[in-house]
Assembly symmetry: C2
Homo-oligomer: 374 residues x 2
Amino acid sequence: MDEKEIEELLQKYYCKDMHYEDGRILGSMYTEPPKIALKAFFKFYQANLGNSGLYKGTAEMEREVVKFLLRLASGKENFFGHVVSGGTEANIIALWAAREMGYKRVLATKDAHFSIRKAANLLKLPLENIEMKRGKMNIEDLESKIKENDIIVATAGTTPLGFIDPIEEIGKICQMHNCFLHVDAAFGGYIIPFLRELKYTNKKFGFDIPAVSTITIDPHKMGMAPYPAGGILSRENIFEKIVIEAPYLIEEKNDSLLGTRQSGSVAAAYAAQLYFGWRGYKEIVRRCMENTNYLVKRAKEEKLEILEMPEMNIVNLKVENVKKVKRELYARGWAVSTNPKYSSIRIVVMPHVTKEVIDKFLDEIKNIKKNYGL
Amino acid sequence: MDEKEIEELLQKYYCKDMHYEDGRILGSMYTEPPKIALKAFFKFYQANLGNSGLYKGTAEMEREVVKFLLRLASGKENFFGHVVSGGTEANIIALWAAREMGYKRVLATKDAHFSIRKAANLLKLPLENIEMKRGKMNIEDLESKIKENDIIVATAGTTPLGFIDPIEEIGKICQMHNCFLHVDAAFGGYIIPFLRELKYTNKKFGFDIPAVSTITIDPHKMGMAPYPAGGILSRENIFEKIVIEAPYLIEEKNDSLLGTRQSGSVAAAYAAQLYFGWRGYKEIVRRCMENTNYLVKRAKEEKLEILEMPEMNIVNLKVENVKKVKRELYARGWAVSTNPKYSSIRIVVMPHVTKEVIDKFLDEIKNIKKNYGL
């Protein structure tokens, strides 16, 4: 088929997809990266750190990205890290390495990301559920269940509510019981350091908590990088626990979950961090929190109930028939996500969710409520 | 930092990477995709089939790619498939699903891809090694070791030699013992159908062998798509064996190993298959085999020993000090891979490995041999 015909077909499919720039995707932890990050992504589309011997330049950029992630996570320069395909791969790597180090069982709340359940199943690690207290890990329940050699997964920015588990307290309990503590900060890692500087919180989630062994932080969420760019950091070298011989590669070994790794996104994450810098990311968080507060205020004016006051830029609106509202919104071109168990609609206030978008969205909700009496 | 400075920095790293268009990467199963595939990749860079409800268009393109893969694999239109991040993810998914279906142990040769060892470790499946006869699975050894509920991994295009295991015979043995047969055709899937039409072989590897349950075929290898584009196909719906609830996604479930899936490469794989079509891929294979034969002929003229006559476009040159030759070539800007256990240098004759490249490369080898007496 000739190129023109193919382009026409692609355009047809393109129109069936949703796009961030339309400002109607309200339930995803992703946004449009800055132009320079996309330039970097496209320039380095061939790079594959699964065979890093061919891509010395990209490997250096990976180290620069890991350095920035370690700064976010209060880690030291000599700690370890990789840019991988996303939070799921990062979480699986952490739990896989922990299993190889002799840890036996996973403890996590039901609001931990589904990749934790997936990892436990994959790795044949039994998973024990820790109860929650208003969306956060219940310390008393953890204390009653924890055993030597457990793997505790704490979350810094839970998927449903954007909450931060009490990681300092969890860390103390882990130390007493000789446990492995993994922090899933896939979403919160690029937010919490700035929330602290902006005086929204004083919570810690990183390596400044001595028990923390590994941390997931994703550049392709609040780091403004395109997919696939997750980050896995570790205090000790966990990668040597999962390394496998691969004689045909230049470096003759492989130490991530995947073999081939699309690494254009490493260049993109690097470009994004040069472009924004610490101050730029702080400004993004400041604006997202301002819009979060705006959404909360406006929703209350519209007599919508807020499930819990947000700790970061995720807002849950309680509605009666969640499935119905989601369907109606979807039919009108809006993509929200829901928390069925909380009976709420979940809005992730990413940079493309501006005040204007929020106003339009609340109008839509109002219409749906009026038309359907929901 | 401003965009111009960032671009300069990126350029610095770019120059440290190797690139396919320079024609000096001789050991990778990847090549430069056609322009229209890259256009599609960049156009759909936002797409993430991990949340397919947002990307209905891309999901349709995935189905079109899977259809083409099923055609390569002699499958039926109603069989199942996904485009995933690569062969490693595809192989892990197959073995994971098999484990969930009650299969207990993996049998594979040492020339099976390292992702099979990785998957077995990850999934806690014991792995038994089946001996080889000249680079292929030894049927007698398989017969002596096979037990009910084993998972047999056969390879159609082994990484070291590009050999095709005797899959029809393996299939018969699997049927007798009620085993799960996974075929790793990550590389060979886009080659063997055309080798048959070009009368190079009459071997089968696909679903026309009744015992075959799952097949890996990667668009980002001989399918000319950019990373990340692996393919996993199955006769029954294996994806429902690994599905996990994910209420916050539009479809509220996830059925691949990864969560986020960079799906620009799905659009790219689709564009590539429209661009080349069946005839185009056949022509690529014809040319690669012609160049493979040219390399064999020219190497013999230079008194270099060929390890085994190639079955597809992978050639192994026996040399005495493999590590030394690889290092010397690398220092001169050539990236080859090696088979230490066969004491050979391994050339994957991808489309960018033209006769001209082959001539230059053999000159380089000649120089190294002369200078170092290797």
